[in-house]
Amino acid sequence: MEIKLTVNSGARSDEVEPRLLLIHYLRETLGLRAANVGCDTTSCGACTVLLDGESVKSCTVLAVQANGRSVTTAEGLVAEDGTMSIVQQAFRENHGLQCGFCTPGMVMASTSLLAENPHPTEQQVREGLEGNFCRCTGYHNIVRSVLAAAEKLSAVSTSADSADSAEVIA
């Protein structure tokens, strides 16, 4: 079946088998390797990407279900000049990762979380990342990273009054 969709702001058109999972379409067909296959059972969140701006686990979405929609991976958060998004920068600055395997999924889940709730409490961040497992950090620096990103995003959106937080994040 032919699918037409937007991936990281670029229009794509590909012939896919209906059973092709979105994660395999992204990694194998398009060569976008940020999203990882972790548990492969909708638990760990390593494969998290944005579908129309909302976090989803791409191991449990068919590529055909993304037909006509917009997909964003961690690669798509980076500007053309190589500048990382505020969430990505916050993970680096706050040492929000160790081995890095869960990080692309954490960053995408956090980006979606902050678009829905720009001023989360620490508890809301912890609950909002319930679907993403990290086996290294003990989560503390990840939570710190998301809270730092929230603070920075709110400073940015206050100074640029027309931009809403979702645009700033993406």
């Binding site: 088998e17 209906p18 059973r19 909708t42 969140g45 449990t60 889940a109």
Partner: protein, 270 residues
């Protein structure tokens, strides 16, 4: 893990979905959010030859008040149910329960109709529909019928929904001021309930205490005859048949049912 091959069609209306179901018979399955079906297909517990995608049928989605009920379209996603100001005001237990399903990513995809049709005895929404005394509207070749929650769940992962039928909407009573409580006992983040309890207006429903979500009839009866919460909650496991697994044996589940029912009847959430 990769599902077995299947054909895929996008339905553009409920009638189109039904026509495709009739055409393809028992080999076809309906796909909405896919968060119960696709995991089963990946481990080949399900091998439908045809998937009929109903996620784009707009008439099957949405939340509205109709008389003394709130009607929720079958493909309305958990995140929409949880975040609906209408449901938070009119049926707060349902909005709360939807927010307990899985995790944010799962709630962005999974649907209320899908979760009910999957009929997992340990899941949040079947138990909640039972506590609410809600119903589902089912449409098939023979027409439309409404099935109450008490008659809808008939076994583990088995409901009154026929293979040629479509669950079109979910109906729950309006009750913004009604007292309710909700308890879900889990050991790990984003897990299913080891035992769950939903209490609403004197009705008490249990998850993971048998092959279907169950009413705690003895507890409800005791409450009606004026028993205290403590006395009524002590009867919560009567008539249930909880299984045992890695997490808990039957006795422990019965204990949890009593403790959690007391908390739920006290209006606590957690």
């Amino acid at each position: 893990m990769i599902p077995a091959s299947f054909d895929y069609e996008v339905a553009d209306s409920a009638a189109h979905a039904l026509a495709l179901l009739t055409e393809h018979g028992e080999d076809a399955k309906l796909l909405a959010g896919g968060h119960s079906l696709l995991p089963m297909m990946k481990v080949r517990l399900a091998r439908p030859a045809m998937l009929i995608d109903i996620a784009r049928v707009s008439e099957l989605s949405g939340i509205k008040v109709v008389g003394d009920q709130v009607v929720i379209g079958a493909t309305t996603r958990h995140a929409e149910v949880a975040g609906s100001p209408l449901l938070q005001a009119e049926v707060p237990i349902l909005a709360y329960a939807a927010a307990q399903v899985g995790d944010p990513q799962i709630r962005h995809r999974g649907t209320i109709g899908g979760s009910l049709a999957h009929a997992d005895p340990s899941a949040d929404l079947p138990m909640t529909l039972l506590a609410l005394g809600g119903s589902v509207e089912i449409t098939g070749p023979a027409g439309t019928r409404v099935v109450g929650a008490d008659d809808f769940f008939i076994g583990p992962f088995e409901s009154a929904l026929g293979p040629d039928e479509l669950l079109t909407e979910v109906r729950v009573p309006r009750g913004g001021g009604v007292s309710w409580g909700y308890q879900k006992f889990v050991r790990r983040a984003n897990d299913w309930a080891i035992v769950g309890v939903a209490a609403y207006d004197g009705r008490v429903a249990l998850a993971s205490m048998g092959g279907t979500p169950l009413r705690a009839h003895a507890t409800e009866e005791a409450l009606r005859s004026g028993a205290s919460i403590e006395e009524a909650a002590a009867l919560a496991a009567e008539g249930t048949s909880p299984g045992k697994d890695f997490h808990a044996d039957s006795d422990y589940r019965a204990h949890l049912a009593r403790v959690l029912t007391k908390r739920a009847l006290e209006g606590k959430t957690g």
